[in-house]
Subunit: 227 residues, 2 copies
């Protein structure tokens, strides 16, 4: 693989963190592209959000299908199971945990990046607010980076600009990058609602970050109220 | 994850190597299951072979779909998609190399194993006749094992019983395991033919292994001749 270190591929889900990463990448790399995994997410609004954000940011976006997780089942993000607020007794993780998800998403992004001749991967995983998901941890990213390097014989680097930030710091970073307007297009709510439900774990976490950063969430500000 | 170390999940493609791994696992683990990835392989006969082998061996088999590689294109294994050079990539790709394939297949198998409470994974990757594919190397498997362990917080071990064997040694191993009859159901031919074409690189490699081991290939012995 002949890589172009000044180019980056951002894993863009359409949520707050990956949107922030896109803005970060646009600041740090000359050429930026986006990859979005269509894994059968229950809320297709996420995919629409990702496409809208890529368009607004002026970057090429590739949607990569992955029907595996829906077929494997066992989680609340692709199946019919409701998102439960607590954790499962079996593994002490929320039922939104999809085993292996970030490993596979990043590997798919790397497979696409390989074809593009891009070695720099950017993802919004965050240890601070990880809900205990082991595939969001820095150690996991280090191990995966090594696996990608060996397995594709390519000089991949996984950039995780949000790894050790609080949600409030992430909000402030995006403001400083001048990308806050992109968040009006993003999607966070686990229940797929727009305006967001405000009570699911994802909504609560997002609201907390904006509160602590003392910044208004442009998604809330621009979403017309429901009647 | 509460793992059962006496249980193993074998990545079963329906070919010679993974069939040998299945027999190996049946010898070494009390409980064995199989996972087969349906990634849109051009020759569906491989999937039929995998199902027949699992049935003959008396193990449960799960077929995991993965439509990503076909969508990403850029390789000759997922078939009819012709890749226009210059559109896909700035670099030249060998079109039989599917970047990231084994990484993703093993990660998917691990995701399924996680749900089964199985931590022992078995794969037929082989450094000896890897055709230089970096995702068949021992270093890659070590790195991936670490990524799976960290990323799913589970004590995965990737077993690669064929890693350093020649094809002849693999044939002899299967004979010693008493599993040679399973090979009558396996599929190797790149051209998807049954009886095998005998002239494609995969057929030639398989024949060479049997010749050197001085063992008759049960696939050839049991396949009725074409008229």
């Amino acid at each position: 693989m002949k890589a172009t270190p000044e180019a980056a591929l951002v894993l863009l889900s359409g949520g707050q963190d990956s949107t922030t990463c896109l803005a970060w990448a646009l600041k740090h790399f000359r050429r930026v592209e986006a990859a979005t995994i269509d894994y059968g997410q229950r809320h297709r609004v996420e995919l629409e959000a990702a496409a809208a954000i890529a368009r607004a940011a002026g970057v090429a976006q590739r949607v990569i299908p992955c029907d595996s997780f829906r077929a494997l089942g066992g989680n609340a993000l692709t199946g019919d199971e409701a998102v439960a607020p607590g954790v499962r007794a079996a593994n002490q993780l929320p039922n939104t945990f999809v085993p292996g998800r970030n490993l596979i998403f990043l590997s798919l992004a790397a497979a696409w990046a390989y074809q593009l001749g891009i070695s720099e991967l950017v993802t919004g995983v965050c240890q601070t607010d990880s809900s205990g998901y082991p595939d969001c941890l820095a150690d996991t990213m280090d191990a995966l980076q090594q696996a990608l390097r060996c397995g594709m014989d390519a000089p991949f680097t996984i950039h995780t600009p949000l790894m050790h930030l609080t949600k409030a710091q992430t909000v402030a970073m995006l403001r400083d990058l001048g990308g806050l307007h992109l968040l009006a297009l993003s999607h966070t709510c686990y229940n797929g609602q727009r305006p967001p439900c405000g009570i699911c774990p994802a909504c609560v976490l997002r609201a907390k970050g904006f509160d602590e950063a003392r910044i208004a969430d442009p998604l809330i500000a621009t979403t017309p109220p429901r009647h």
